[in-house]
């Protein structure tokens, strides 16, 4: 089974976001970048599918040299091959999807995995766009996956419940937390990842379809009032919620 996983290098979720001078991007100084959290589930699922069915897992990342760090982590977890589509010009989801789809076309994987979204732009679009560009079916926000005889049955999260989806392979999946428990890279994995090559390619430029006009901080909320320090404050709280805030 040929498995491909597309991964991204993003600010750690614990990072404080400050704005750059251009007013359109973030100040990257002092921010730790990590493997996108949802992509860990995607990698893990590919590794499990490989262990069950034999095959090969290829990790692909689009970005600058810094993305090698994230590709190394994927290699350390057990991915067989890493490809860097080297391009650090700003791209929107459409342009990212185009570059990944071009590369994936040459790979012809049975299963293509993404994290359900990158925790930077939160667009949750690239994986599904790639599926559409490749003419493949997809299941997004997957929390369970079974593959049997070239047919996949997956569960995806919906509002207040789950959908069980059936799809033929090849197909694209995007991973949600809960799909599995990602492994930690072993020491041996980390050591061998250091010597594994990362193949570098330059993707064709792709035009963007969106323009960022501004990036700003959300309006800051001021601390409100402390109503009390024991149960006697409760009637006042409920009164305020009812009469002042009008939310109950």
């Amino acid at each position: 089974m040929k498995l491909a996983v597309c991964i991204n290098h993003v600010p750690d979720t614990a990072a404080k976001i400050t704005l750059a001078a251009d007013g359109k991007s973030i100040d990257k100084n002092g921010i730790t970048f990590v493997l996108n959290p949802y992509d860990e589930y995607a990698i893990e699922e590919c590794l499990r599918l490989k262990e069950k069915n034999t095959g090969e897992v290829i990790a692909i990342s689009l970005g600058g040299d810094s993305h090698k760090e994230t590709l190394r982590k994927a290699l350390a977890m057990g991915v067989d091959k890493a490809i860097l589509l080297k391009d650090d010009t700003p791209r929107d989801s459409f342009a990212v999807a185009r570059a990944l789809a071009d590369e994936l076309k040459t790979i012809s994987a049975d299963v293509i995995f993404f994290g359900k979204q990158s925790v930077d732009s939160d667009d949750a679009a690239v994986g599904i766009m790639v599926a559409e560009m490749l003419g493949l079916p997809s299941v997004s926000v997957a929390v369970k996956l079974d593959i049997e005889n070239g047919l996949a049955t997956a569960e995806r999260e919906i509002e207040g419940g789950k959908e069980k989806v059936q799809t033929k392979l090849p197909a694209v999946f995007t991973a949600q937390k809960g799909l599995n428990e990602p492994r930690y890279p072993s020491l041996k994995g980390i050591m061998s990842a250091k010597s594994k090559p990362i193949e570098e390619k330059v993707p064709a430029p792709s035009s963007v379809k969106t323009e960022v006009l501004a990036l700003r901080k959300p309006p800051s909320k001021n601390a409100g009032k402390i109503i009390g320090t024991d149960v006697s404050a409760v009637p006042e709280l409920v009164r305020l919620l009812h009469e002042e805030a009008k939310v109950i």
């Binding site: 989801s93 459409f94 949750a124 994986g127 207040g160 799809t167 960022v212 709280l237």
Partner: protein, 324 residues
């Protein structure tokens, strides 16, 4: 410019977000000119679609066949994109729900359109739509303009007002979009819905518990308060990672980003990831023993005390107020 508004239904019931999407399309069309075309997809949905006339749809289309009764990413996207072309829609609006988020990227590719996901505001400036959307789980907001000829937006549920229905029932036109086997390459086999619970992403009131709840058994009091207020139960990441609560209840980065009218944070100190996911709530109540907990920095109302004393008292007091 013509606007296509995809109005989502499940089990032959229009979702609240469907009305939000149609109303928003109307608000934009009032400024830019053009028609609002509402589209409902499913099996036998013609009757329910009429209701959209009260929310500003100038034209209502129903694309129905038995196979469309179950959601299919590929088939729904094709119907939406084909309808957009037929109706010469320059803008396509969907709700940023599980279904809308799943079909919008495909619709965008089919229409060679730029996509702005999970928008929290759309404004019209000089004939252009400017979308505001949270990024970094809400730690920042970005304003974007789509530069392609066709533009696709998904709207965060619960943010755009649906307003009251004018009571006008619209005329529903049945439209056929030919679909074949290959359009159903993936399809939903079955849907399981937890009964009687409200999902955090759609809830207008959320009561969330954190690590200070000390154990899963103590969430009973959170559930009771949520039930009395007609809201959803939420959870912090620590609680989900500990296995006390299911992941779909997690609020914050790597969970859900929410903007309810009322968010009650119980025994949650307020990590940066959690605050990012809920600080756009209209009213925030914090209950925590630690007066220095970061959650108090963004709370409208706070009580510095043991949650185990306070939460049951709020439940009781609310019951009294609501006559329950």
């Amino acid at each position: 410019m013509n606007i296509l508004a995809f109005a989502e239904q499940r089990d032959k019931k229009l979702k609240k977000s469907a009305f939000e999407v149609v109303r928003t399309a109307r608000t934009i069309a009032d400024q830019t000119g053009g028609e609002v075309i509402a589209l409902v997809i499913g099996d036998d949905v013609q009757t329910i679609a009429a209701e959209l006339g009260g929310y500003g749809a100038s034209k209502i289309l129903a694309v129905q066949q038995p196979k469309l009764g179950a959601y299919s990413s590929t088939a729904y996207a094709k119907v939406i994109a084909e309808t957009a072309k037929k109706e010469q829609a320059e803008v396509v609006l969907l709700a940023a729900t599980a279904m809308g988020k799943d079909s919008a990227p495909r619709v965008a590719v089919k229409l060679e359109a730029g996509l702005a996901s999970d928008c929290t505001a759309l404004t019209v400036d000089g004939g252009h739509i400017i979308a505001t959307r949270p990024v970094y789980a809400g730690k920042a907001l970005t304003e974007i303009k789509i530069t392609s000829a066709v533009k696709v937006f998904t709207l965060r549920p619960n943010v755009f007002p649906a307003g009251e229905s004018s009571g006008t029932a619209g005329t529903v036109e049945r439209v056929d979009i030919p679909l074949d086997e290959s359009d159903f390459a993936s399809f939903v086999l079955e849907t399981t819905q937890a009964t009687g619970t409200v999902d955090v992403a759609e809830a207008d009131t959320i009561v969330s518990g954190g690590r200070g709840m000390k154990g899963p058994e103590n969430f009973k009091m959170i559930e009771e308060l949520a039930a009395v207020l007609g809201g959803a139960v939420g959870a912090s990441r620590a609680v989900v990672d500990a296995g006390w609560r299911p992941h779909h209840e997690q609020v914050g980065q790597t969970g859900k980003t929410v903007s309810p009218s009322l968010y009650i944070a119980v025994a949650i100190s307020g990590s940066i990831q959690h605050l990012a996911g809920m600080s756009s709530s209209k009213y925030i109540v914090a209950i925590n023993k630690d007066k220095d907990a970061p959650i108090f920095q963004i709370a409208d109302y706070g009580i510095v005390a043991d949650a185990f004393d306070i939460v049951p008292a709020i439940t009781l007091e609310s019951k009294k107020l609501l006559g329950k």
